[in-house]
Subunit: 273 residues, 2 copies
């Protein structure tokens, strides 16, 4: 998948919503526990009910790894289902991997080839040779952590390096990596005012923005400071959609939540032409 | 496993060697490809031939994930074999995970409970709430990346924050985390002179030192600057041991390489009493 395909989806759907499939067996409706693969059954129902309202799905790999082999089977089934039933949607493995050279290549192969995701999130701490192996893959996106939406972000990401916050140094440095046009960046919505500064460094790249909804960020603020002429935003929501209901109507409830966000997004898209 | 158990092993074996099980199907002896699980067959042979010469094994999860479900089966078999046959050895999942709050807890559960590793490597970029969920587990170690041995380490880790290199800020900050006594730190051996400075910040903690051997670091230098009264070092070697031979004698060849390192380590242990 490339940027043109993504923009095409955004235009068609009037949405730049990414749904985070952080599927927690303890939070899904109890009646699904009788299914042979409850996590996949849940994901499939959510996807079928929301695919027309979003442009991307983002399973966080931790939720699958926590169940060992069984969890990896659920993840494999989910991505296979997405690729076969809804091939135009962007699929993101929220894996936050970071390792060097040949090891990074292994991770890239795992997510881009073996599982056939369109994108993977990557941590920047180990630098260039931990990111470039991902960037080698054409028609795939590497989504680098820049500024995250958690409290711990202030431990290191906002510390000043040569008079600039570390996350800005990360953005600037990443632009020098080979195939940096295949990058997107994770920028937390709880700090929407930072988006103005971020856009000075990366005026064009797509930003993946978590923290709208359950974590309290405002969609309007994010669009005000982060939207570009070619949208440039994917806004993620996970728990608020996934766990809108624990009853048999969970998928419809999820669709209602997603539709609320999609409508707000459409308004923002129209507002900005 | 706790520090006392680890020191007991180090004393018994005259070794602080960690063997990195970065098992690459393209590099293992071709005759093993006929086995039902070639990667596990290779690991088992290496472990059986070297367990008396080392105190830890460290599979890098990327090498297993690259083979999808099959790879996770190989990893599960490997850790099960280690736990059942050699329970006194330290087992490290070199996963370099880093995510927040409930997601970090999922990763911790995956590696500490589901797979039953003694330790896991973690990336620091997301800060406190991405590390503390791992530190909650008693008798488990969380090994935080501080200074890695790759070229990209100079992109961010050595950049100055308030007059100090970022990796030193990481060390100092991590000491303020709850249960910081359960931390170890990854410090690359290609920069042995940095160990002197690092020991001023973390005088007691164990350091996991990759980059001795194939990556060119010197064991003597590492011990000179990094060893404490209670050893405080785990030195990792991967490729030089694993791929000492591609013939039927690969396990014996690996043992010879490991023995070379173990003897050098014993000398260093005796030198420093």
């Amino acid at each position: 998948m490339n940027t043109t395909d993504l923009l095409d989806q955004i235009e068609k759907k009037g949405s730049f919503l990414c749904i985070g499939l952080d599927t927690d067996q303890e939070k899904i409706p109890p009646h699904l526990l009788d299914e042979p693969d409850p996590i996949f059954a849940f994901n499939k129902a959510i996807i079928d009910a929301t695919h027309h309202l979003c442009v991307a799905y983002k399973p966080n790999t931790a939720f699958y790894e926590a169940y060992g082999l069984k969890g990896w089977e659920s993840l494999s089934r989910t991505i296979e289902y997405l690729n076969s039933s809804y091939p135009h949607l962007l699929t993101i493995a929220d894996a936050k991997r970071g390792d060097i050279g040949n090891t990074a290549t292994r991770y890239a192969e795992a997510f881009f080839n073996d599982l056939n995701f369109d994108a993977v999130t990557v941590a920047p701490y180990m630098g260039r040779d931990s990111v470039e192996p991902f960037l080698k893959f054409p028609d795939k996106f590497t989504i680098l952590l820049a500024l995250t939406s958690n409290a711990g972000a202030f431990d290191f990401q906002t510390r000043e390096v040569d008079g600039q916050a570390l996350y800005k140094i990360v953005l600037e440095t990443a632009l020098t990596y080979e195939h940096s046009d295949r990058l997107m960046f994770v920028v937390g919505a709880t700090k929407a005012e930072f988006l103005k500064e971020i856009r000075k460094i990366v005026p064009e790249h797509f930003l993946l923005v978590p923290g709208v909804g359950a974590q309290g960020g405002s969609l309007e603020e994010v669009c005000k400071y982060g939207m570009t002429d070619r949208v440039g935003l994917l806004v993620n929501s996970s728990r608020k959609i996934l766990y809108a209901s624990r009853e048999k109507d969970f998928a419809e409830a999820a669709a209602r939540e997603a539709e609320g966000l999609q409508k707000a997004m459409k308004k923002e898209l129209i507002k900005r032409g």
